[in-house]
């Protein structure tokens, strides 16, 4: 099907090699061998324009924002503010007031748990999450549980890694205050029927938080169309830098939530008698923001917007299908996560082989995969496995890379398999 990866990919109107040239890390070597980077679910590689944006900011207009009256400060403030608008448009929020800059998805969820959670979710109130959540969408709610005595309920999933969505209405009660679900599972690849979950939740007047960490890199997200109440994502999974992410929240909810962290910028006025808080989004952005990384996030969005995203997604799905077919031919491999709708994440185990050993062997060939529980211990426990080997693809990966990976996997199995 894909013997000459280059030709086929160009013929489809999607020039992978041209795109790869934009990502400097992809031409790196690992132990003297060409890098095959299949750990995109952990973090994506960055195009040169994103890297350049960081250098440019610090070289030519670094200044603190919103506070200074001088030229550099104006320039930095403008660049920063422009990105908030860009993010709003990227996810089709109705206002930039609804875009809060945070460290990443984990902080976004912690913010909601700490503010909406502590003010509106009390003893015996209920929160619903799913069995396939990343720890970052489990532990903040457990911390809330410890603090307030609320109860966490879990939507289970089946052997394919698909949610038992019919259980949602059974789990909902008059005590349910929030539903928080992952859009796309980092361990199973499952793309959940988030729109349907939100519709059901809203019919019961329950707000929904969506962990979108794995979603935004691969497909357009429209928060108004989804009608989610909160949406969180991380820049570093969508070509941007680490340390910056976004919490989207509907304005009417954000306005009612108490502040998260206290300090500068999030205040209106401060005295020892009384301090009043700034309006949204600034209420939730205490301290000097991560200015450079916000600007770089803007460049990542520009890069994605300039791409033919539909073709990019199609390419990723073809990579997934190809890798899935090839890996299914290996007898001792068992794929974990076989949902009908999946992102380009391929998790698997090998009978008679330890996942870490396989991952390390592939590493010696320059192939970067991830092994372990992927911060989804409950998922692994459900499958009664300690962890998986996970290959996760991005639009800059190629079919040749998959061939190399499959060959490497077969060699690893030959070396390691306990007979």
């Amino acid at each position: 099907m894909r013997n000459n990866g280059n030709t086929a990919e160009v013929m489809n109107g999607f020039d992978v090699q041209k795109i790869r040239a934009d990502f400097p890390v992809l031409s790196q070597k690992a132990y003297g061998k060409p890098l095959v980077y299949f750990d995109n679910a952990a973090t994506s590689q960055k195009p040169q324009v994103v890297i350049d944006a960081l250098v440019e900011y610090y070289s030519s207009y670094n200044a603190n924002i919103h506070r200074g009256v001088h030229y550099l400060s104006q320039k930095a403030s403008q660049a920063f503010d422009d990105v908030r608008v860009k993010v709003k448009e990227f996810i089709n929020a109705s206002s930039e007031r609804e875009i809060i800059f945070v460290k990443g998805t984990t902080e976004a969820i912690n913010l909601v748990a700490a503010t909406l959670g502590r003010s509106a979710i009390g003893q015996d109130d209920e929160i619903i999450i799913t069995g396939m959540e990343h720890h970052s969408n489990i532990v903040p709610w457990q911390l809330l549980q410890d603090q307030t005595g609320c109860v966490i309920k879990v939507i289970p999933f089946n052997e394919k890694g698909e949610l038992h969505i019919e259980k949602l209405t059974e789990l909902i009660s008059n005590k349910t205050k929030l539903i928080s679900v992952v859009h796309t599972s980092n361990s199973l690849g499952t793309i959940n029927p988030v729109k349907e979950i939100i519709r059901t939740a809203h019919a019961h007047h329950i707000p929904v938080m969506v962990d979108g960490a794995q979603a935004v890199a691969h497909d357009r997200v429209d928060v108004q169309e989804l009608n989610c109440d909160f949406f969180a994502f991380s820049a570093h999974k969508m070509l941007g830098p680490t340390g910056i992410g976004v919490l989207y929240g509907k304005a009417e909810l954000l306005e009612k939530m108490p502040p998260y962290q206290g300090g500068g910028e999030m205040i209106n006025s401060v005295s020892f008698e009384k301090t009043t808080y700034n309006e949204i989004p600034f209420k939730f952005e205490a301290g000097t923001p991560n200015i450079a990384d916000v600007i770089a996030l803007g460049k990542a969005i520009d890069y994605l917007n300039a791409m033919d995203r539909k073709s990019a997604l199609q390419h990723e799905q073809q990579l997934l299908a190809y890798a899935t077919d090839k890996i299914s031919e290996i007898e001792s491999v068992r794929i974990i996560g076989t949902a009908n709708e999946k992102a380009s994440v391929l998790s698997f185990v090998v009978d008679g082989c330890n996942a870490l050993d396989i991952g390390m062997f592939l590493d010696t060939m320059g192939i970067a995969v991830r092994t372990g529980h992927h911060c989804c211990e409950p998922v692994m426990n459900t499958f009664c496995i300690p962890g998986t080997i996970r290959a996760s693809f991005m639009f800059y990966n190629t079919f040749e890379e998959i061939d190399h990976f499959i060959a490497g996997l077969k060699k690893a199995i030959a070396l390691l398999q306990v007979k």
Partner: protein
């Protein structure tokens, strides 16, 4: 002597040019490590790393400390085999004090993220704690 055994291992590893070869050698050593008797593969003996499990059994004989161990990862078994080769059959004090420089010298420290994941550091700590325990009993 611990230092001599470490020196032998470092010399063996110097024969290899790159990480790929070293990895394969560690795998070979791991595949040769005798399995631990099931009676010792119990929770009390378990050292949990992030991604693999290790069972460590120690006993005293003629004033010296001996170790046997097993893991669900062949690579970790290779690491265990090296540690056992160096530390098993030695005096408790020697074990407690051993700096185990060979781990860096054979280039394993570069892969520290992996060693963190597989609990190598925890394993070493546990072996030294056993030795310390045996030493305390001897001195009591």
């Amino acid at each position: 002597m611990i230092e001599e055994k470490e020196k032998e291992i470092v010399e063996e590893f110097e024969l290899f040019d790159d990480w790929t070869d070293k990895y394969q050698y560690i795998i070979e050593i791991g595949q040769k490590l005798p399995a631990l008797d099931n009676q010792y593969k119990v929770d009390d003996n378990k050292i949990k790393g992030c991604q693999s499990s290790v069972w460590l059994h120690s006993y005293e004989k003629d004033g010296k400390v001996f170790f046997e161990a097993d893991s669900d990862s062949t690579f970790v078994k290779g690491e265990i085999a090296l540690l056992i080769r160096v530390l098993s059959g030695e005096e408790p004090q020697e074990i407690v004090n051993a700096p185990l420089k060979f781990i860096d010298e054979i280039g394993l420290r570069q892969h520290i993220a992996v060693t963190r994941a597989n609990g190598l550091a925890s394993m070493i700590k546990q072996m030294k704690l056993y030795a310390l325990g045996i030493q305390s009993r001897q001195q009591a």
